[in-house]
């Protein structure tokens, strides 16, 4: 490994911070999350640029990202060399990967072909930048693959230890508790797209065999954006070119000295060349004069990028109606188009979700909805008192709401399928859905109906129904429905997601019919 430089110390600190924040993006006994990894996205210029372009308005949450962009004007791509955790990981592993030389396909204008369509699509209302944002790529690989894998492995070991030791395993419990409470995911969750998330991450590592920081230099849209800005800035290296007598920079530079001239839009400010210069010639200075670096990109690349963006934003708009019916978004999301403008697919809401209710979409939300969060009630429901997803969302795509306000947000509406539901289909009691419904006045109620069972015996069965005005679509009913496979009650998406009426505190509930008015909901009424 290289000797310890200040850039390396900064890199390691930020990587550690990233990992600590990653672990803190989890319920830890308090309704508010102290710190989450969303800071990295709020300070991410690509997130800021793409989200603001898409929403066409200033987003105060993303101000830090704009500030980093402005800083890049003066300091170049310092973010890449000092902060970016993905870059740090690449620097840490690259020494162990033998290089075979640059990949032809990537040496051209590939990075602009990636960045321009993404930004153009943003301008057209589809915020896709997160798909290739380095921080998001890393976070998703961790959230969907590596962290669950780690949890699965450790917990599996702990479990099999029980098979070996039985109750004596309790002796080791304090140690395991520490691990469980601070390092493991709370529950084992299998995510769709785990493979793709891990694959993209591994692919970025794989690119290291062609050259150092190949991803950062040749593809990364965030780096490319910062590079574009830094070209305009006053910071330059002297001497700009390789010195004829030494040329050691070519060896030290992780990114751009395979041409004779330092490319400021590729330089990540690691300062290796300056620190290692045998004759201490190399300086980075704020100088007005800009050495000739040639055009940013050819006109055809620019135009092609724009066209690519249009195709991306407008080419995949077909929606299968049946699939749309189950397209449930996190609480507080009221408009799909608005959501797609702001969601950067970072995966944090899915990481933090208390009941593992949120999963990344593959094609359910259309091609441009890939990696956006979907609520899958059969796997997990939206916990009534929890507001974590809104708290960690870096862009406000999921609004950060107070508890009462979040409880009134409508995710969808529950609908019974009487062909499956036991009290209807089998004429026997069940009511697990009503039991679990968290709405104080119960959005699922039941009526006592006297009927003849299929065994010929007369009995009273409680048949459930949904009170639409009270249902917020949290999905706990679908989650706990004891039927195997398909639930007999399902939450479906609704267009009108106006929040439920505020329920004035007890005793009278003006909006809803008083529960005692109906003999069916009177706890002591009817016969038992």
């Amino acid at each position: 490994m290289k000797k310890v430089t200040s850039s390396r110390i900064s890199q390691l600190l930020f990587l550690a911070l990233f990992l600590v924040l990653f672990l803190m993006t989890e319920y830890r006994g308090s309704d508010r999350i102290v710190a989450a990894v969303n800071g990295f996205f709020r300070a991410n210029p690509l997130t800021a640029a793409s989200t603001m372009l898409a929403a066409r308005e200033y987003q105060p949450l993303l101000l830090p990202g704009l500030l980093v962009l402005v800083a890049a004007l003066f300091l170049g791509r310092f973010f890449c060399g000092w902060i970016c955790p993905l870059g740090t990981i690449l620097d840490l592993v690259t020494g162990r990967i033998r290089k075979v030389g640059a990949l032809r396909a990537l040496t051209g204008r590939a990075k602009y072909w990636l960045l321009l369509p993404l930004l153009t699509a943003s301008l057209l209302g589809v915020n896709l930048a997160g798909l290739f944002d380095p921080i998001a790529l890393l976070l998703r690989a961790l959230t969907f693959f590596f962290h669950p894998l780690f949890g699965d492995t450790v917990r599996g070991g702990w479990r099999s230890l029980y098979g070996v030791m039985g109750e004596r395993r309790d002796l080791l419990d304090p140690g395991y508790r520490l691990l469980r409470d601070y390092l493991l995911p709370f529950r084992e969750t299998l995510y769709p797209l785990a493979f793709l998330s891990a694959f993209l991450f591994m692919l970025i590592l794989f690119l290291e065999r062609y050259e150092r920081r190949a991803w950062c230099r040749r593809l990364c849209p965030l780096g490319t954006l910062l590079g574009l800005v830094s070209r305009l800035g006053p910071l330059h290296r002297t001497p700009a070119k390789l010195c004829a007598d030494c040329q050691a920079c070519r060896e030290h530079c992780p990114t751009s000295f395979d041409r004779d001239l330092l490319q400021m839009d590729e330089c990540i400010l690691c300062l290796e060349c300056s620190l290692r210069c045998p004759s201490q010639r190399v300086r980075f200075r704020f100088a007005g004069s800009c050495p000739q670096v040639g055009p940013v990109m050819e006109r055809r690349v620019f135009l092609g990028g724009l066209v690519g963006g249009v195709v991306l934003a407008k080419g995949f708009r077909f929606r299968e109606p049946a699939a749309q019916a189950k397209l449930l978004r996190p609480p507080g999301v009221r408009d799909e188009d608005d959501f797609l403008k702001k969601c950067v697919r970072c995966g944090e809401c899915m990481k933090v979700c208390l009941r593992s209710a949120l999963y990344p979409a593959f094609f359910q939300a259309g091609v441009e909805g890939m990696y956006t969060p979907l609520l899958v009630p059969r796997l997990g429901y939206c916990e009534y008192n929890c507001t974590l997803c809104g708290q960690v969302c870096p862009t406000g795509a999921i609004p950060d709401l107070g508890r009462e306000e979040k409880q009134r947000q409508v995710i969808g509406k529950a609908v019974f399928d009487k062909n499956h539901c036991l009290p209807f289909a089998k004429r026997i009691d069940c009511i697990v859905c009503e039991e679990h419904c968290p709405i104080p006045g119960k959005a699922i109620r039941s009526e006592r109906v006297e009927l003849t069972g299929f065994d010929g015996v007369k009995r009273v069965v409680q048949q459930p129904y949904v009170v639409d005005e009270l249902c917020n679509g949290c999905g706990i009913c679908e989650n706990v429905c004891p039927l195997e496979g398909k639930a007999a009650i399902e939450v479906f998406r609704v267009k009108d997601r106006t929040p439920l009426k505020e329920v004035s505190p007890a005793p009278a509930m003006p909006g809803a019919p008083p529960p005692d008015a109906s003999p069916y909901t009177d706890p002591y009424g009817g016969n038992s």
């Binding site: 929890c386 009511i431 039991e435 968290p438 104080p440 909901t521 002591y524 038992s528």
Partner: protein, 293 residues
């Protein structure tokens, strides 16, 4: 008398004796201690004392499970979970009686972390020596042969099965299906698997489990009760403050008495009826010794 004749008479007489024996025991009947007062720790201790104190149940060095209802993510005033003061007092009494370890847990319906925190039970017991507030671990469930009417076998929680003493501490509240959830329904908190599926025959299923798994002591928290929209509640208008706890070694008797707090008769609750018919305990209020303290 010939042997055959003797056996006949014996068999015949046992038929009559059966009812007589029952009456004989009923004369003493199970003790149901009912304590009332605004100091919930004090009434818990009083109720225990009326049954002979915790040392009657817990011997030094034993492992005790105290099983409250922590099923829902609600704060204590909503009466959806057991009063943390009552739980804490019981745990203290167990320790005083010499318990080596006291374990407190429940299989929650909402997220376990939130339930443990919101119920106030986790924080009430925090830092107490020898006390473990635990989340359930899937691998500890053990298949138990119940050979009941509707449940032949079910997974029950290993730490509950292996405990020397098991103390059942439900909160008395309304339930949409079983009308009330009391002591016998609280046992669902140690049941594994798809618990919802027993709802189709909940009274017999709960009688099956309770016939096989029997808590040494049941203490029902009725310091405040949830009278409607149970078992989750969420509306303080549905909560009634009674400042009572009911304790008995007879789970059916405790449930039967607690039923009266809701203005119902013990026989109105199908679970109680089913358990009584199986001889799991007494539900006739006249045949219990109700000790008010």
């Amino acid at each position: 008398m010939e042997r055959r004749q003797f056996i006949k008479i014996l068999g015949m007489s046992s038929l009559f004796l059966h009812g007589w024996l029952r009456n004989l025991f009923a004369a003493q009947g199970p003790v149901v201690a009912v304590a009332q007062g605004t100091d919930h720790a004090a009434i818990t201790r009083k109720a225990l004392a009326a049954l002979g104190g915790m040392q009657r149940f817990v011997k030094p060095g034993q492992t005790v499970v105290v099983k409250p209802n922590i099923g829902w993510d609600r704060t204590p005033e909503y009466a959806a979970t057991t009063n943390p003061v009552v739980v804490k007092t019981l745990v203290e009494e167990c320790l005083k009686a010499g318990a080596k370890r006291v374990k407190v847990f429940d299989r929650t319906c909402n997220d376990a972390r939130r339930c443990y925190a919101s119920s106030g039970i986790e924080s009430a017991l925090h830092g107490m020596k020898g006390v473990e507030v635990k989340h359930l671990e899937e691998e500890r469930f053990k298949k138990v042969a119940l050979n009941g009417k509707v449940l032949k076998e079910w997974e029950l929680y290993g730490e509950a099965l292996s405990a020397d003493v098991y103390i059942n501490v439900p909160v008395a509240k309304h339930h949409g299906l079983s009308r009330l959830t009391l002591g016998m329904k609280n046992v669902m908190g140690i049941m594994g698997g798809n618990r919802g599926s027993i709802h189709k025959n909940i009274d017999q299923a709960l009688a099956d489990v309770n016939a096989s798994f029997r808590p040494q002591l049941t203490l029902i928290d009725a310091t405040r009760i949830l009278t409607a929209h149970g078992p989750q509640g969420g509306n303080l208008a549905d909560v009634k403050v009674l400042n009572q706890v009911i304790a008995s070694t007879d789970i059916v008797a405790a449930d039967a008495y607690a039923t009266t707090l809701f203005g119902l008769k013990p026989a109105d609750i199908a679970v109680t009826r089913a358990a009584y018919q199986r001889g799991l305990g007494e539900m006739d209020l006249d045949k219990m010794r109700i000790v008010r303290v």
